[in-house]
Subunit: 190 residues, 2 copies
DNA sequence: TGAAATTCTTAATGTAGGTTAAGAAAATAT
DNA sequence: ATATTTTCTTAACCTACATTAAGAATTTCA
């Protein structure tokens, strides 16, 4: 399982065998059954998770009980409650598995303490954060400038595999519309 | 001018005098008159800017000619077209000055090449990216779960100084509503 | 395999926020 | 100081998307 993470790191910052060994000992494997929480609103987050298999999501629940999905994490993606991790405070984010999943857990403490020994890892995470920020900004632009229909089409382009593996209502939640309205949009497209 | 940046870096990762000297030589000072572009859609971004004084913004222009603001950068903030910087491709972002401003420019090439010599700088930018990502996710949540009125109130809490220094229509653009509707919301509040 | 739970669809009705337009106020330039 | 441009406000009307409800399809699990 750890091999998948090592490969991912290698694809971004080449690391040597010694460093690989250290990383191998840093992470914990974990199976996450469908619907099982990895993190719940109100807790202080202390781990990031790398998805080896399956798909997780992070989301908030508003006052009316509606879920709003912040992130999907299919294979090879990291997921965490970055706000809680960084501020060391509880936040409103939940993280759970949409599909039966396998993840690697890395504690924040381990993560930041290893950076002095393996600066390449700090580079790896800097690059990931920069990419995630660019993607998040793009998502904001989509909200500000596109109709629901166009946001759905962009979503399909961006996550082609997810369309068939996760419930439609989760897609609706991510693009910011109701499942009923998504259903209507899909009907229009034939 | 550079002192302001040094102070900001020191507040996040303590650096020694030698490192300070290197940084001092890395950045270029620049005055940016109101409305002057720092970056235009279609160009490949090659600089990040640290705002010493004034306020910049990044935004897109949609097919109907409407502007959508992605980021405000008041004093002590960095602003860039992260997508373009990271992918080395042109994007749809413009960056210009909302107020008469002074910035420090750091080229991406300088930035990434200095990380091997000053790992603390890579840490500084990793931390900034993580914070920006957490903030961007929070903004996404606000979109998904709040009404325009509540988004406006959150904006006022988050950027109390901006409310009186930048045009209202810019705030409307940032929170994703028309200036007319913002005007209406404000009238309701007395 | 079959009952229960979850998800998806359709359709009627409702509303937050958009559009258009025109005048008032404020900022900027001459 | 005055003319010009930009921004803000108000109000009537409009629309994209939400809400509600109920049945159909699919998935889950005993």
């Amino acid at each position: 399982m750890v091999e998948k993470l090592i490969q991912h790191i290698q694809s971004i910052v080449p690391i040597d065998e010694e460093e690989v060994e250290i990383i191998r000992e840093l992470v914990k494997e974990k199976n996450v059954p469908r619907k099982r929480f990895l993190h719940q609103a109100g807790e202080v987050a202390s781990y990031s998770a790398f998805v080896v298999e399956g798909c997780l999501r992070s989301y908030t629940v508003d006052q009316d009980g509606f879920e709003h999905i912040v992130q999907f994490a299919p294979e090879n993606w990291w997921i965490s409650d970055m706000y809680s991790l960084v501020k060391n405070k509880p936040s409103e984010l939940n993280i759970d598995a949409l599909l039966e999943s396998k993840v690697l857990l890395l504690s924040r403490t381990c993560q930041v303490s290893i950076f002095d020994r393996i600066p390449k890892l700090e580079r790896y995470f800097r690059i990931l954060s920069e990419n995630a920020l660019a993607a998040s900004n793009q998502r904001t632009i989509n909200y500000l400038s596109l109709t629901a229909k166009l946001r759905y089409e962009k979503f399909c382009d961006l996550y082609p595999t997810l369309i068939h593996t996760i419930p439609q209502k989760s897609i609706a939640s991510y693009i910011g519309i109701t499942p009923e309205f998504l259903s209507k949009l899909r009907a229009e497209r034939n």
